[in-house]
């Protein structure tokens, strides 16, 4: 197992998250996709930290996790409000703003 395996996995995860973001429709699932992407970055950071023998990368992961949590909190709040207003979470039906 070399660095590149970890990197590859991380990038694959990121790609999965990104692809999911494009493919999936439900706002909550989209939030999850974002989490996947963030965690993919975390994985990459961790592998780099290991490779570089530095502690910073691991510290970054905690910071990012904190931010992700905050993001999720805000995001869920917005999604709930959205559901209250629109009665749906299917993003392909929420397109009043366009043009």
């Amino acid at each position: 197992m070399t660095l590149y395996h970890f990197l590859g996995l991380g990038l694959l995860l990121f790609a999965i998250g990104a692809a999911g973001f494009v493919i999936r429709n439900n706002a909550v699932v989209l939030l999850l996709c974002i989490e996947i992407m963030l965690n993919a970055v975390n994985l990459i950071l961790a592998s780099f930290a290991r490779y570089l023998y530095g502690a910073e990368g691991q510290i970054f992961i905690f910071i990012i996790m904190t931010v992700a949590a905050a993001e999720a909190a805000v995001g869920l709040g917005i999604v709930i409000a959205l559901h209250r207003g629109h009665g749906t979470l299917a993003m392909n039906r929420i397109k009043d703003l366009k043009g």
């Binding site: 963030l38 970055v41 805000v74 917005i78």
Partner: protein, 479 residues
């Protein structure tokens, strides 16, 4: 590399501390965050923070082991951001319903200012990321602040989801930078990399995250929808503030980069610039809604500013700073006028609704006309010299082709900017205007100041130019 406590130097975060205090007071102190008290408290906070800027000017205060560098560029950006916030407050006082718990609104705005203050002063990518997130999270909520408005929620959720994706991409870039150089400090870009191959990729991914903030194509698509959905005071703010912050970051990024990373950055800048000029200007041609038109215009303006980034060697930093300064005056003015005209209304204001404004509210019509002319880049407004300076830098750095695209785009932009002017002055009987407030309002005064500044930067730009070139002296001299 590791921060040690002796390095902390809280002094360099003086404005941010002020803002943070204000935000906390607004959130937690009963009486300050409710009703009519919120606005004065928030405004006072911002003004005090603004007063801190001259204190720090010229000192290049460094804190947190080099993670925060409050140099003149950061301070100039901060001053612009704080002014933007003030104008946005004025717009909010008009636009927000009174019964709301407005303290939250203002505190969120103050938080976003803190975020941007950190962003602009950051010497480290992770700090930039944190600042961006503080900014972004506040703005997500602000866009959806009026929960009853459907469009507002739609805008908020779009902004939130797309913004998060952009943040994730930015983070990926950060991670790759870390992998390539072993550090996330901006100065690391110039250091010899352990994995040089990763640097261009990292640079590009970072640019994507920042490109989202400045609404540069192809990362721009949120902008019109969010501007339209958001409360007008928030749209006013979003159209200017994050762009200023992101451009400062881009300036630092471009200034610190070297080698393959620099080439990738330059390519990305040129691409986004050309795409932005094309998309922004062309799409704006057929807009009927004033705010969407301004959104596309903002995309185009950002694209003009982007010309200055690859041209750092030729005074591009000063050109970008000056353009940002002028952009703040004219775009803020335009949005503020829009806010003034569409106060308390839910539907969007169409361009045709402005018909006859010149005879009903000559002052406002004149102001809006000045902003439109400035955005077009016609003298005697600051918009002319802003473009002139950027073009000069672009040509000097050898990007004649991009500049030629820009001048063609300018010609195209004539049509939609001046259409607004023509509708106001040449037609009669617009249906969409309710009774305009009589007398001098706060927003009106703010617009007046913007008009004066827009024209002043067009007639006597020398002082402003000097301030702009003093902002990033290292960038200008270093290359």
């Amino acid at each position: 590399m590791a921060p040690i406590f002796q390095d902390v130097n809280l002094y360099c975060l003086l404005p941010e501390l002020v803002l943070l205090t204000g935000a906390v007071v607004l959130l937690f102190v009963r009486g300050a965050g409710r009703g009519s008290a919120a606005l004065p408290v928030a405004a006072t906070t911002v003004i005090v923070a603004l007063a801190a800027v001259p204190l720090l000017w010229g000192e290049r205060a460094v804190g947190f082991g080099g993670m925060i560098v409050k140099d003149n560029g950061a301070l100039l950006a901060q001053a612009l951001l704080l002014i933007t916030a003030l104008v946005s407050f004025a717009a909010a006082a008009d636009a927000l319903p009174e019964r709301k718990n407005n303290g939250e609104y203002y505190s969120l705005l103050l938080f976003s200012l803190v975020g941007m203050g950190i962003m602009t002063a950051a010497g480290d990518l992770l700090v930039i990321f944190l600042g961006m997130e503080i900014l972004a999270l506040s703005l997500y909520v602000l866009v959806g602040f009026l929960k009853v408005v459907r469009a507002g929620m739609e805008g908020a959720v779009k902004y939130f989801l797309l913004g998060s994706v952009a943040s994730a991409v930015f983070l990926l870039g950060l991670a790759l930078t870390y992998g390539a150089t072993g550090s996330t400090q901006l100065v690391a870009f110039t250091a010899p990399a352990t994995m040089p191959a990763l640097l261009p990729a990292a640079a590009v991914l970072l640019v994507v995250g920042l490109g989202f903030k400045i609404a540069a194509p192809p990362f721009h698509m949120w902008a019109p929808d969010v501007y339209e959905g958001a409360p007008i005071s928030v749209a006013t703010y979003i159209s200017v503030a994050p762009k200023i912050a992101a451009f400062v970051v881009l300036l630092r990024l471009a200034g610190e980069s070297a080698g393959p990373g620099r080439e990738a950055l330059t390519g990305a800048f040129v691409f986004m610039s050309v795409a932005g000029m094309a998309v922004g200007n062309l799409a704006a041609l057929r807009q009927t809604s004033l705010v969407r038109m301004l959104a596309y215009s903002g995309i185009a303006q950002a694209a003009y500013i982007l010309i200055g980034l690859p041209a750092l060697s030729a005074g591009g930093a000063a050109a970008v700073s000056f353009y940002l300064l002028v952009y703040m005056f004219m775009n803020l003015g335009a949005f503020a006028s829009l806010a003034h005209l569409s106060r308390r209304r839910t539907g969007t204001l169409r361009i045709d609704d402005l018909a006859g404004l010149a005879s009903r509210a000559p002052g406002h019509a004149f102001a809006l006309a000045v902003f439109m002319i400035a955005l077009t880049g016609i003298p005697p407004t600051g918009g002319f010299f802003a473009k002139f300076y950027v073009f000069k830098a672009g040509i000097q750095a050898g990007y004649l082709g991009v500049v030629l695209v820009a001048v063609v785009a300018t010609v195209v932009s004539c049509f939609y900017y001046l259409r607004v002017v023509m509708v106001m002055y040449g037609e009669e009987g617009g249906a969409g205007l309710r009774g305009l407030p009589a007398g001098v309002t706060m927003l009106g005064a703010a617009i007046g100041v913007m008009v004066v500044m827009t024209i002043l930067t067009g007639i006597l730009p020398e002082r402003f130019l000097q301030a702009a070139s003093a902002a990033f002296p290292l960038l200008a001299a270093g290359m």
